[in-house]
Structures are given as structure tokens and as C-alpha cells.
């Protein structure tokens, strides 16, 4: 059974004459990890702020966890945690004191606060640093403290805005693990990002934003089929080969020249056998024939390329 956690209909936000979000329809279900993708300024953060009731929509309706964020913001914010883009904490306070403050703002009963903070800090591996002022924290530690806040508050929905911006690869991996563990607990996670590999690996569904609209939305594999029409990417290195000889192989969608004697082949199925045969038949040197999966990066590039061409 799918229960919608967020339902937006014709959601619109204008700043003056500039349209930030344009008649957006969006439904996010309980327990999903949902990715909001798109270039900067595409309306991702504005959408998030409207979900939280931190910004007033110019038009349209939105319901978050069954409440109206505009008129019942406390009910919404009690159930939704938010980790803003490059989150800040009070630098002169310790990590633990920062959490204590939000615990008090959130009305967590005093007797439960300390144990909940400790549990949350253990989850994000910050116990050792908990008594140090946040000024001494690295960027990754701040992000983890932000996640600890969400864990401590035991919210139903976590909204993470560009959570891995500026994190080193190892911190990013640890961060992804944390997000997976949140999902495992039944939390709905909404994250915005332009790091597409990341989104691909953890998101159940994604929405591609462009100029305040959602261009395409759905499961990553579905998007690949719909946008690319092909899910298999083959790289072919063969000196002195003419790709005209590949004509007639069923399933090849397009061939892109990467360098002299190097091509990329997009296909709807694995066509390596036939390609190899044609290369050998043509008497060329087959140097490489490797299979890679199409990535969300390809979807993204193709989608926005299409937008540009259409424009």
C-alpha cells in the first residue's frame, strides 16, 4: 500500500516576475527515498521550502504528512526534519548542546532528551566529538550532526538539501549508509542533489527539475528506458574501423565518436558479440569492447540537451 506523504498540485512560486516553481505536481509516498535532481536554480530548494511551510506558495496546493504547511506549520515541522544545504550550527556551543537546544525547541520531554541525543550521536559516530564546540567540526561532521538532529527528533520525513555537497568520497559513502539505515527504519527521505551517481544508487524514484518544472519523474531504470531508449552502453576501441560497418545490427540506438578509433554505442541490449564479429570481419584491430550500464548522468545530459535543442 502506498500512502502519500507529500502531495503537491499545481504548486507555483514567483519571486517578483521570476517564476521559481511553475505549476508543479508531485506525489511522494511513505517509505520512499525520493531524489530531486536538476541544475542550480531549477526550483529544488524552493520546492523543499514550500513543503516545509518556510515559504508561502504563490499558487496551488500542498499537503505534507496530511497537513497544510501554511496554516498548520507546527504540525508539519514536528513530523518533518530538514537538513539545509551547508547546514550551520552555533559554533561556540558543543555538538551536544546544539542538539539539546533543538530538542527543547521541538518539545522533546526533558527526561528523554539526553538518552535520545546519545543514541543519535552514536548512530552518526560523533560521540567522541560531542563535547567539543562545533567550531572545531569538519564539514562532514556538521552534516552528520544534522542527521543526528533528524534521528533524535524521530521524524517521519527527512528532507536533505544537497547533503553531500563538499564531502570527500569516504564521507559521502558513510553518508549514503546513514540514509539507507534511515530508510530501513521506515523514514521517508527526500534528497536534492546534482551528484547523480549518488542519487542513482539510493533513490527509489527521482524527479528531474528544469526551470521550475519537473521534466521527467519515475524510477531510475524507467527513466533510462524512456529518455535514452537504451540501457546498455558499450565502448568500442578499434583502430582503423569504420562504424558504417555496424549498420543493420538490431538494438543499436546510436553511435557516438569519442576519439580516433574509439566509439560509444548505446543499445537496448547487449550487442557485443555482433559488434566484435563485424570488427574482425572488417579486418580492424579490436582493442577494447567493454560493457557499461547507462547512468543517470546520461539521462540527465540527454534530457537537458533535448531541452536546449527544443528551445
Amino acid at each position: 500500500m502506498t500512502t502519500p506523504v507529500i502531495e503537491a498540485k499545481a504548486l507555483t512560486k514567483r519571486y517578483g516576475s521570476q517564476v521559481a516553481v511553475d505549476r508543479l505536481d508531485l506525489t511522494i509516498n511513505k517509505g520512499e527515498v525520493f531524489g530531486l535532481l536538476g541544475p542550480n536554480g531549477a526550483g529544488k530548494t524552493t520546492t523543499i521550502l514550500m513543503i516545509l511551510g518556510l515559504t508561502e506558495p504563490t499558487g496551488g496546493t500542498i499537503a505534507t504528512v496530511g497537513f497544510d504547511p501554511l496554516h498548520q506549520p507546527l504540525e508539519v515541522k514536528r513530523r518533518v526534519g530538514y537538513l539545509p544545504d551547508s547546514v550551520g550550527f552555533y559554533d561556540n556551543m558543543t555538538g551536544r548542546d546544539n542538539l539539546r537546544y533543538t530538542a527543547r525547541l521541538g518539545g522533546i520531554p526533558r527526561i528523554a532528551v539526553d538518552s535520545r541525543i546519545t543514541t543519535a550521536l552514536e548512530r552518526v559516530d560523533l560521540v567522541a566529538a560531542a563535547e567539543r564546540p562545533v567550531a572545531t567540526y569538519s564539514r562532514g561532521m556538521r552534516q552528520r550532526l544534522g542527521i543526528a538532529e533528524i534521528i533524535m527528533r524521530r521524524v517521519d520525513v527527512a528532507i536533505l538539501d544537497e547533503p553531500t555537497n563538499g564531502l570527500d568520497p569516504q564521507s559521502t559513502q558513510e553518508f549514503l549508509e546513514l540514509i539507507r539505515s534511515l530508510k530501513a527504519e521506515g523514514m521517508t527521505v527526500i534528497l536534492s542533489s546534482h551528484l547523480l551517481d549518488l542519487v542513482q544508487s539510493i533513490c527509489d524514484r527521482v524527479a528531474l527539475f528544469s526551470n521550475g518544472k519537473i521534466g521527467v519523474m519515475g524510477k531510475v531504470t524507467d527513466l533510462m528506458r524512456d529518455v535514452l531508449g537504451a540501457t546498455t552502453v558499450i565502448q568500442l576501441d578499434a583502430e582503423g574501423f569504420d562504424t558504417a560497418k555496424l549498420e543493420g545490427i538490431a538494438g543499436i540506438e546510436r553511435i557516438t565518436r569519442l576519439a580516433d578509433g574509439s566509439w560509444r554505442i548505446d543499445a537496448s541490449r547487449d550487442v557485443r558479440g555482433e559488434v566484435a564479429r563485424r570488427v574482425i570481419e572488417a579486418g580492424a584491430n579490436l582493442e577494447r569492447l567493454s560493457l557499461g550500464m547507462a547512468t543517470l548522468q546520461d539521462v540527465y545530459t540527454r534530457f537537458f540537451e533535448g531541452k536546449r535543442h527544443a528551445a
Binding site: 500500500m1 500512502t3 502519500p4 519571486y15 530548494t45 524552493t46 521550502l49 516545509l52 518556510l54 515559504t55 508561502e56 499537503a63 504528512v65 496530511g66 497537513f67 501554511l70 496554516h71 498548520q72 506549520p73 507546527l74 504540525e75 515541522k77 514536528r78 518533518v80 526534519g81 530538514y82 537538513l83 539545509p84 551547508s86 547546514v87 550551520g88 550550527f89 552555533y90 559554533d91 561556540n92 537546544y101 533543538t102 527543547r104 525547541l105 521541538g106 518539545g107 544534522g146 538532529e149
Partner: protein, 348 residues
């Protein structure tokens, strides 16, 4: 499955701030009522901000400065007063008002320094949160913006009050030690009223500083704007007032009534400055023989006992408009800050 909708059966509580806000929302095209108390989380905000204020380095530096100047002013004043002990029934209050070259009186120091303390407390109240990137995280907690702004203002006011009460106790103790006299009942009462006026005066400047911290996104700009305004009122306002008065009601040398009119105009303009209001309030409270701030006609002097103190009630009557204006100014400025903050976008 449709999430269950509340159908407006639960009547939301409307506080006065909500009523004010509804009024403003009316002409800005917003509709609807927010549910839940705007004071949720207020206690936590006040506590944190108060702690932050008291432990910050800049406040400690300022407090040291004010105590040193206070001590210097009082010490030199006491040297002056000792000669006239016994001639004045309110000798204790003179610690605040008497000055001896080259130092100004303690009162003059306070009129100068209270705004600085208040500006220090408020100039980065809101834009500081944006710059530290804590604003969106804090506003995403289940509280209203009201709680954050009111909490910051109350914490600033409480810090000012603690600071001024400590200073007041310090001055009283110094007076008892150095003069060898205990303050009389009315002297204590007058100085406590003075304390309240000083807090209201500080509150006006705190509200100005917080307003600028909302209007300007850079803390340096808001600090400079507050300090410019302070400089304007502390130094240039009397000159500007006399200049404007000269234009509005020019003096005809053959008509003495134009002179009175010019003086009245100038005084009205001067009273637009919180510094003037505070100075007049303090003067009437601490110097009980103050009868008026305006011109006195010869006819009015008939039967007057020169230098005789007024009863407290009469002094209060004299400065009531000033004190009320200070508090009204505080409320007005805070309301402006409140509206500006409510309409501000969370995004930078």
C-alpha cells in the same frame, strides 16, 4: 488513502500578535489563520540567547568599559559632593548627575554608552543567523518565527536589565562607601525609576539594532547603520534641530513671541531623539528641583522657592510624556522589526 483533513473544528487561539498580524495580512493579500501557539519554544530561545549574550566576549569587554567609566565618574562626583553634604536632601542622587572636569557626569556617560551596549546586543540578531546558516535549520523546528524574534528581543532586554541593575547596585554601594551615607527611601525610589527609564532607553536602541539586523543582510552594514543613527542622535541632533527650527519658525527680533515659538519647535524636534527623551527623564528623576524643560516666564516664578525639590509625584508628572514616548517608540520599532521579519524570505 487520503490523509485526514482537519475541518476547522478546533478553534485556533489568537494572540494579540496574531491579531496585529492578521491586520497586516489583510492588506497584503494573505489569508487564513495559523494553528498553534506562536510562543512555542520561546523559553528555549530566550534561555539560549541570554546565555549567549552573557558569555560573549564583546559583552564582557563593554561591561568592563562601562564599569570603569562609571567608577571614574562617580568617584570624581563624590569628591565634588563631599563639600556640599548636608545642604541638599538628595545628596545621594548627585552621584549620578554631578560632574567634575574633565570627566562628564555618570548620567552623561550612560546616555552615551547604553545605546552602544544595546547595539552590541542586537546588531547581528537576525542576519547573524543567516550568515551562520542556522536560520533555515532553526525555522524548520516546530516553532513560529515569532518565538525566535521575541525571544531574541526579550533575551537582549534581560541582558540589558541585568547589566544596568548590576551597575546601579555598584553605584549605590560606591555611594554608601565613599559618602558614608545611606540613601533615603525616596532616593532609592527615584533611582529605581531611573533604572526603568534606562532599560526602556536601551530597549529602543535594541529594537533599532534588531530592525537593522533584519533589513541588512551583512552584519557590518547593520552595525554601521545603527552606529550612524546613534552618532546622529548623540552628537548632531541638537544642531540639526536648531537648524530645522530656524527654517520652520524664523525669529523676528521685534516679536518676542516668535522666539518662544522657535524654542518650542526646536524642543519638539529634539524630542524625536530617544537620547533627549532619556536625558530629560533622568534629569527630572535624579534632580528633584527640575521643574520644567521649557521656558519659564517671570510671572510663573512668583512665589516659587528656588531650588526646592518637587515631590516624586510631580516629577513623574513632568516626565510622564517622555517615559511614555520611550516605551511607545520601543513598541513601534519592535513592531516594524516584527513585520519585516515575518515577510522575509528564508532563502538568501
Amino acid at each position: 488513502m487520503q490523509p485526514e483533513q482537519k475541518s476547522g473544528i478546533t478553534a485556533p487561539r489568537k494572540g494579540w500578535i496574531q491579531s496585529v498580524k492578521d491586520g497586516f495580512d489583510g492588506f497584503s493579500g494573505r489569508t487564513g489563520v495559523r494553528e498553534g501557539s506562536p510562543w512555542t519554544g520561546l523559553g528555549a530561545v530566550v534561555e539560549r540567547e541570554f546565555n549567549d549574550n552573557l558569555t560573549s566576549t564583546r559583552m564582557r569587554m563593554l561591561q568592563a568599559l562601562v564599569f570603569v567609566t562609571g567608577f571614574a565618574a562617580a568617584y570624581s562626583a563624590i569628591g565634588q559632593i563631599k563639600d556640599v553634604v548636608g545642604e541638599d536632601p538628595f545628596v545621594f542622587l548627585k552621584i549620578f548627575t554631578v560632574s567634575k572636569e574633565p570627566l562628564p557626569s555618570f548620567l552623561a556617560f550612560l546616555g552615551f554608552l547604553i545605546p552602544i551596549v544595546a547595539i552590541t546586543l542586537g546588531f547581528d540578531a537576525v542576519n547573524g543567523e543567516f550568515n551562520r546558516r542556522t536560520m533555515s535549520r532553526i525555522l524548520a523546528q516546530p516553532i513560529y518565527r515569532d518565538a525566535l524574534l521575541v525571544g531574541k528581543f526579550l533575551a537582549g532586554l534581560a541582558t540589558l536589565a541585568v547589566f544596568l541593575v548590576a551597575l546601579w547596585l555598584f553605584m549605590m554601594g560606591l555611594g554608601i562607601l565613599l559618602l558614608g551615607l545611606a540613601p533615603a527611601g525616596e532616593e532609592i525610589l527615584r533611582s529605581v525609576l531611573f533604572l526603568i527609564a534606562a532599560i526602556a532607553y536601551g530597549g529602543v536602541w535594541l529594537a533599532i539594532a534588531i530592525l537593522f539586523s533584519i533589513v541588512f543582510r551583512s552584519t557590518a552594514t547593520s552595525a554601521l547603520a545603527s552606529l550612524s543613527l546613534w552618532l546622529l542622535f548623540a552628537v548632531f541632533w541638537p544642531m540639526i534641530a536648531s537648524m530645522i527650527a530656524g527654517v520652520i519658525s524664523p525669529i523676528d527680533p521685534f516679536d518676542p513671541r516668535t522666539q518662544i515659538a522657535a524654542f518650542d519647535t526646536q524642543q519638539s524636534i529634539e524630542r524625536l531623539s530617544p537620547n533627549t527623551l532619556f536625558a530629560e527623564t533622568a534629569m527630572a528623576l535624579l534632580n528633584p528641583s527640575t521643574r520644567t524643560f521649557g521656558l519659564v516666564m517671570m510671572s510663573q516664578l512668583q512665589g516659587m522657592v528656588r531650588g526646592a525639590p518637587l515631590p516624586l509625584g510631580q516629577s513623574l508628572l513632568l516626565i510622564w510624556p517622555q517615559l511614555a514616548s520611550l516605551i511607545a517608540g520601543l513598541v513601534l520599532l519592535f513592531t516594524l522589526a516584527y513585520i519585516a521579519f515575518q515577510r522575509q524570505e528564508v532563502r538568501a
